[in-house]
């Protein structure tokens, strides 16, 4: 195809899709994946394999011939197990018949929620640095992403003041993600109550991506949906990718008031039909029998967090102590380099990959996302290389 044709094809792509920039992560991935023998702190998924008994449940389901569709909302047994899990873990009560939908990861849950709730031109406030999907997913739904900047001074917590500055008559939704990717921040109950009060006063809805809920290190996770008056205005998104180490199963769920779940279901039934059946079978086992696996993985992440935070301190890279998820977000601006330059040089000179903070929004400039879902040996080796790199850069 000649360039003239390909140009015209490019122009035929829907404008709101065409205008979305290439993901900073994909961009970086292309550079990294051509390299051998690197230590990667750039991986946003557990380094653990799914606990064996969960994999075994999937194998068993396959043997029994669980190869057909499930109902659109998902297997009733799984929705029942989710209702029980969500109640015992977070304290919210949802009706498994009408208030829970099984999705293809939190990714789909997020897309469904935004598409089901937004009219074209309506605004969604979310906090940056943020997970890479939020702004694009809002744009695909013809909504307007309105980022609120969070900073180390506030431990990357969203504040009521910031929300007040950004709210307009077109604001429809607030999208929250705590524990947070990429900062590792959490929102303690007191802060959460402030945000909830604001949401109630302004009569907004919340979509809360709590995919890292179980990976909270300092205090037990509180869901915003568990606060007074919030259940009826919150879509709670959760999934199996992180705490259960099940990313490849592609399974998540949304819980919320019946009318909202029904609206999400409408989109899901015509675009996805149902989530993968084998994954749903495995998830039943995961919800009922994996508490111990989760707490062992959490203990391991916590040790690594302590190690990596101490490393950054020693290297004089300021870093808010992450209290959740498995990311640290150190400030590298003292080196005088941009995030991208820092990440590229670290990769080229020391074979260590980490993601430039700018992949998570422009306010991520000056930061680096380092995932500690990385084996301790590799973390130790990476720490040594980072030390050497900084000595060179600073001398």
């Amino acid at each position: 195809m000649n360039t003239k044709d390909s140009k015209s094809l490019h122009e035929r792509v829907a404008a709101h899709v065409r205008d979305i920039p290439r993901s900073g992560i994909r961009d970086f991935f292309d550079i990294v994946s051509s390299r051998k023998d690197i230590i990667s702190l750039g991986i946003g998924e557990p380094d653990f394999v799914t606990p064996w008994h969960v994999r075994e449940a999937a194998v068993f389901a396959l043997e029994r011939g669980a190869t057909s569709y499930t109902s659109n909302l998902g297997l009733p047994r799984l929705r029942q197990a989710i209702a029980e899990y969500v109640q015992r873990t977070f304290g919210m009560v949802y009706d498994p018949d009408t208030e829970i939908i099984i999705t293809v990861g939190v990714s789909e849950g997020l897309d469904l929620a935004v598409r089901a709730l937004l009219n074209p031109g309506e605004e969604v406030i979310y906090h940056e640095p943020s997970y890479v999907s939020y702004a694009p997913v809002i744009t695909f739904a013809h909504g307007i992403p309105v980022p609120v900047i969070t900073t180390p001074a506030d431990a990357f917590r969203i504040t009521r003041t910031a929300l007040e500055e950004k709210i307009t008559p077109r604001t429809r939704l607030i999208l929250l993600n705590y524990p947070n990717n990429p900062t590792g921040a959490t929102l303690p109950r007191g802060h959460l109550e402030e945000i909830a009060a604001f949401v109630r006063e302004r009569d907004l809805l919340v979509v809360s991506d709590e995919i890292y809920a179980e990976l909270s290190y300092d205090e037990k996770h509180t869901s915003i949906a568990a606060l007074p008056g919030m259940r009826e205005r919150t879509i709670f998104l959760h999934g199996f990718s992180k705490a259960w180490a099940m990313t490849g199963f592609r399974l998540g769920y949304a819980c919320g008031p019946r009318q909202l779940i029904e609206a999400m279901m409408k989109i899901h039934q015509y675009t996805m039909l149902c989530a993968p059946t084998l994954s749903q079978e495995a998830a039943i086992e995961a919800l009922r029998e994996a508490d111990r696996d989760i707490s062992e993985m959490r203990a391991e992440y916590l040790r690594r967090r302590n190690f990596i935070v101490k490393t950054f301190r020693e290297l004089q890279l300021p870093c808010v102590t992450p209290t959740g998820a498995f990311y640290a977000f150190p400030d590298i601006s003292s080196t005088g380099m941009t995030s991208r330059d820092f990440a590229l040089r670290l990769l080229n000179e020391e074979n260590v990959a980490a993601v430039p903070g700018t992949a998570f929004g422009s306010c991520g400039e000056g930061f680096l996302r380092c995932s500690y879902a990385t084996a301790m040996d590799d973390l130790q080796e990476a720490a040594g290389r980072l030390r050497r790199f900084l000595e060179r850069v600073r001398s």
Partner: protein
Amino acid sequence: MDELLKILKKNALETPENLAAMLNMSVEEVRSKIAAYEKEGIIRGYQAIVNEDRLDVRSVTAVIEVKITPEREGGFDRLARRICRFQEVRSAYLMSGAYDLLLFVDGRDLQEVAGFVSEKLAPMEGVTSTATHFMLKTYKHHGLLMESEDEYERLKVTP
């Protein structure tokens, strides 16, 4: 269980510096805690886990079920301790069920183990019967698989 012990049980070679970082302790604290565990006999030793099937040495391991008569004073313990003193006995456990002691016994070959059973173990006063099983292959030992499978690789960078 103490976090320090948990980590050491997985990797006894972890350095005090790394342990200190992982546990938010000082290196000195880590060292003295380990010393205390050793002194109290809570840490009994440190050993490498070797896949002996891969070595070119002739050796066998037998698992032996032993029935013994408990004594009026001391129950099974006195006899069990005597049995443990044989250096052929690698591990020994008191069991519930059809027999009393389960022994793991190492030897150069079948004859050597058979000799141990018939000449040393079975004739002991209080031992009423033995049943010997030879191990053919080790798949997993102390929580470790003896053959590593190829790991399914993660992408190098993901969101």
